[in-house]
Symmetry: C2
Subunit: 235 residues, 2 copies
């Protein structure tokens, strides 16, 4: 069973402010909890409604679990994990930069895409949605356990990096005709506004996903666009 | 202003049953309403909270519009459109088949991807989510006005088609090494279960999106996978 104080603390982790203060986040679902542990994340508390082999899991009732959960239908497993300490921002390999991506579902999907294509690092603008947001964690299906996501002032970071910088725009060189080096940065902008104007001067090569229809949609969803460009970069 | 009877009829169109009986569906948002009209869809009723140049639009209050709307925050424009009559199922060109895709957001995104890549026809299994579901229409961002989506017994359809049939699986020939003919069928299964076992014998070529990580996710979201395969087919 859990105490009122514990429940209150766990519920508070739905907010960015509490996650920042406590340096903790929630993971729900058996597979996800196991994958975060396997990924080296430190569990602070584990809860389960079933007898489980998870070391140190506290048995709770389904009612208690639902009260802790951010999901409409709670999973039988919930873990409170430590947010890992910030690392030095990477300057080699393939790095995905997200500029003002605000939708949690999109970031979760993008984490999963990076995980699929072996991209180990995402750097978000300071106003990109927090990767420890429960909706992002859920949508990432534990890919957040394997892909490092950090946040910084993009203007500063991109000004200093020695890597080639590619930015995805509605107009640019076709991704199918672009040679992407082994080490490179790919910048994706928000769906509504694209890459910020202030970053434009830092983009070395504007690339685009060719549209095959004349009267089709104006743009693609940012997760879809990310998948198409990363698929091409890593093929 | 609108009558109680009208409001009741409009609200009923959130359900598949009423859409089937009435052969009508809802479109919200100025751009979407305009694009469905431009796409040749017949508006039965148009409503607006602003003075508009849309021919025949009835002026309503914001309160009335919110009562009609399926959105949390109603748009100032709403149209009730006729569901077009079923066409003969296509047997040429590139056709996307969806087997048991149940998430409205995924179907909406897939409609937009097809629209981007110039794919004109989607055929869903009878248990695939209804394309006139308000959430699908919304997520498609009016691509449903340009991409035809129909439903049928896939076993029957695939048994009779003269086209080559490609199916996306977790194991198969790499999409990057597969030659896709100009006229071909691509089958995508549901994320949870993949392509139904009963359809497997009808798949001419199993294809796969190569995973570039060793311990990455088990699968990709069905909309992401569709984008990657269609991008490769149409490049």
């Amino acid at each position: 069973m859990i105490t009122k104080k514990e429940l209150k603390q766990i519920n508070s982790l739905a907010t960015k402010k509490a996650r920042k203060t406590e340096q903790q986040f929630l993971v729900e679902g058996k597979k996800s909890v196991e994958e975060f542990i396997a990924g080296g994340f430190q569990p602070k508390k584990l809860f389960s409604t079933e007898n489980t082999k998870l070391k140190g899991a506290v048995l709770v009732t389904e009612n208690e679990m639902q009260k802790m959960s951010c999901l409409k239908n709670a999973s039988p497993y919930l873990g409170v994990f430590e947010i890992p300490q910030a690392n030095v921002l990477p300057n080699k390999g393939r790095i995905l930069i997200l500029d003002k991506v605000s939708d949690p579902g999109n970031l979760g999907t993008i984490l999963r895409i990076c995980d699929w294509f072996g991209i180990k690092n995402i750097i978000g603008s300071l106003d990109t949605v927090d990767c420890y947001n429960p909706k992002v964690v859920q949508a990432s299906m534990a890919s957040l356990a394997r892909v490092q996501c950090q946040y910084t002032d993009l203007n500063e970071y991109l000004s200093k990096t020695p890597l080639s910088i590619f930015g995805t725009y509605l107009v640019g060189k076709s991704i199918y005709e672009t040679a992407f080096p082994e080490d490179a940065i790919l910048v994706m902008g928000s769906e509504a506004n694209g890459i910020s104007t202030e970053l434009e001067a830092l983009i070395g090569q504007k690339v685009t996903i060719p549209k095959k229809s004349t009267n089709g949609p104006e743009s693609l969803n940012v997760a879809i666009a990310t998948a198409l460009v990363l698929g091409e970069i890593t093929r």
